[in-house]
């Protein structure tokens, strides 16, 4: 096999549908990851609108309590497990091999397995709506004892999340091996693009934290189905144990959900500010610092249990704000004095920096134990998580889509529609989630189906609902831009943005083997060096990629 240098001619004879179903190409898998993740983003978004419809007015009877519990549980589960985490796998799959100058991932077939587990698990999770008692309804955190008592939809949820965990664990191993061992000649670790560094740190977190979640879910499954007592005090178990093992994964998971977004923003800002990223190495070490500290802060979700060492976890949580703050300064210093233009990728990247900053600050606020005791399980926490994961992750997703659309499809999304998309999303986002700070400080608990109209709660909730629907409306210009782009021919050059990383050194879209030629790599900006005549480009020898005979 290793001696075959001929492109895969056989694949071109097969029908397109069979080609997509059996592909092990990282670009095709990346596109399928992206489509599937965006599908679940739409589903999760509709569920979010149902939640906001219910909460638009006080004492609402739009849906029953039990339905509401299912809807908000599945909203969070879809957004976290079926949208944000896999959408980073989409960008990672497509762009990590391209950015390091590799022909594919290290294990293409394992990569296909990672992908196919994902839609399968998604179907399984949503199949919960068809079974007796409905889908999972214990919140995405599935605390015991509640999660031990629900119907079979909960078991489907458990199995689905275990499958997704397997998918991201083997995917993480694949990314780590790819980044460590598949880099083009000359690309030392400190010339690896920051996006790849962030995927690497994310992968380490996934590799080491996700199996602990699998262990927790296995215990829950055994408790539910085989009479186990892990989380049952009557049998000597401990309900808080669930919270410990769950958050041991799920707090690092927050970084799994944000680090790749930070990577994308760090690719976009230098390109549209026309300056190198300020403090590349500081950024890399901050990324590794977040990944390392990420394992020591899980219990800040559990301050009110009385079962954790408060000063330690509070201190560590403040500490993790430091590398995050370093990154904010990296971005600001990159912008400083740059020749900035405001194309849609840049708008979304700047939206990320500003909104994520708020999410970081209100998160640090919650790290103080006395404050946390007051706001625990209130809407303040809901505001925080959405400023991080919508204001952060989702803005970065769109920055990535607008930025890399020309590379993936050879077409560019319309700038005007993109700008409208951004403005509506930005306004809608702040309308939807800023009032939740006020509601939370005023003591409105999260995860309740109805509330009484005291202290203007109804007004604030109504504003929030208007904002949520505005976010929904904001998707219309985006969809129009996508359809309009696909109705036009592929007209994009290799490097429409004058960007500096290797994915822009090949055609748009790239050929199946990725690169016909590669520039010499003497810095973390090989295309900048090439444009300015510092280096030259060399043809990739046919078969060189497969030269491990």
């Amino acid at each position: 096999m290793a001696t075959i240098a001929v492109p895969h001619v056989r694949g071109q004879e097969r029908p397109a549908i069979l080609e997509w179903l059996t592909t092990v190409d990282h670009k095709k898998l990346g596109i399928m990851y992206l489509y599937t993740a965006l599908f679940f983003f739409a589903v999760g978004g509709i569920l979010a609108l149902l939640v906001r419809t219910q909460l638009a007015v006080a004492d609402s009877s739009f849906m029953s309590n039990h339905t509401y519990n299912q809807v908000f549980t599945m909203h969070a589960s879809a957004m976290l497990f079926l949208f944000i985490i896999p959408v980073w796998a989409a960008f990672g799959n497509y762009f990590v091999p391209l950015q390091i100058g590799a022909p594919d991932m290290a294990f293409p077939r394992v990569n296909a397995l990672s992908f196919w587990l994902f839609p399968t698990a998604g179907i399984l999770m949503f199949a919960g709506f068809l079974v007796d008692g409905g889908s999972a309804s214990a919140g995405w955190t599935a605390y015991s004892p509640l999660a031990r008592t629900l119907g079979p939809g909960m078991d489907l949820w458990i199995i689905s999340v275990i499958m997704l965990g397997v998918s991201s664990t083997i995917g993480a191993a694949n990314f780590i091996v790819t980044i460590f061992r598949m880099r083009a000649p000359g690309m030392t670790m400190f010339r690896v693009p920051v996006f790849c560094w962030n995927i690497l740190a994310t992968s380490v977190l996934q590799l080491l934290a996700t199996p602990v979640l699998a262990a927790a879910l296995v215990m829950l499954y055994i408790d539910r189905n085989f009479g186990g007592s892990f989380f049952d005090p009557n049998g000597g178990g401990n309900a808080v144990l669930w919270q410990n093992v769950f958050w041991f994964y799920s707090h690092p998971a927050v970084y799994i959900m944000i680090l790749p977004g930070m990577g994308i923003v760090s690719e976009v800002i230098p390109v549209f500010a026309r300056k190198p990223l300020f403090g590349y190495k500081a950024f890399v070490f901050a990324t590794l610092g977040i990944a390392g500290l990420g394992f020591s802060v899980w219990a800040h979700h559990m301050f009110t249990t009385g079962a954790v060492l408060l000063p330690f976890f509070s201190f560590m949580t403040f500490m993790i704000g430091v590398p995050t703050g370093v990154k904010i300064f990296n971005w600001l210093a990159t912008l400083w004095g740059g020749s900035i233009t405001f194309e849609p990728p840049m708008l979304f990247a700047l939206g990320f920096v500003s909104m994520f900053l708020i999410g970081g600050i209100n998160g640090t606020y919650s790290a103080a134990v006395p404050v946390d005791f007051a706001i625990h399980d209130t809407y303040f926490v809901v505001a925080h998580i959405h400023y991080v994961l919508f204001g952060g992750a989702v803005f970065a997703v769109f920055a990535g889509i607008y930025y890399w659309f020309p590379k993936i499809w050879g077409r560019r999304l319309n700038d005007k529609l993109g700008t409208i998309h951004f403005i509506l999303t930005f306004i809608g986002f702040n309308l939807a989630f800023f009032p939740m700070h006020l509601l939370g400080l005023d003591g409105m608990p999260r995860r309740i189906a109805t509330y009484a109209d005291i202290n203007h709660w109804e007004l604030l909730n109504f504003v929030s609902t208007v904002g949520a629907f505005l976010i929904g409306v904001a998707m219309i210009p985006f969809l129009i831009a996508v359809v309009a782009a696909f109705m036009r021919p592929k007209d994009q050059p290799d490097n429409p943005w004058d960007a500096n990383t290797l994915e822009w050194a090949t055609s748009s879209p790239p050929p199946p083997h990725n690169f016909d030629s590669l520039p010499e790599i003497h810095s973390e900006r090989p295309l900048f060096d090439l444009r300015h005549g510092i280096t030259t480009s060399h043809a990739v020898q046919p078969g060189a990629a497969e030269g491990r005979a």
Binding site: V177, L207, A215, F230, N244, G547
Partner: protein, 202 residues
Amino acid sequence: MAAHGAQVQRQGLSNGMLGLILFIASEVMFFGGLFAAYFIARADSPSWPPEELLAPDQVSRGVRLELEVLLPSIATTLLVISSVTIQLSVWQVQRGNRTAMIWWLFASIVLGSAFLTVQLYEYSQLPFGVGDTVFGTTFYTLTGFHGAHVAGGVIFMAVILVRALGGQMDSEHHEGLEAASFYWHFVDVVWLALFTTLYIVQ
């Protein structure tokens, strides 16, 4: 699978071995989660085994939270020996002795299967079930998941054996066998930790 191998000939571990080691690292974390549950349950309990938690109906059914050491000691011996035999298999193929490699590999599979047989027999004899307090739950979960990994390792080695009988694995190319041996040593080490905590440390 090196079909899309590195563009640069890199030194050190191959892609496959690095991938396997990362996979084992994730497995360590999985068992770490289960061990954590066990230690927390044990630390929370005023006595271990927690006989006082047994309900009257469990006692009347004859449930006792007791473990025998003899059978698992035999199983432990079998598994430790199998770790030696798989390593002998690797060393033999490195010297080019394929016949010895195949026999030592075969011996490892037999020993692994014998371990599973002893474990299943022990399960059938134990006076408690998975639902009998957190003692039973943690015992069957930990040993059960370990047993599943032993079964996975036996299948892994059987696949390598079939490939070896088909003419693969020589002194130059035997990464599959080496990967199987790494995995098998991991399974062995997990068992030693389990045997010590579940049966020995009172």
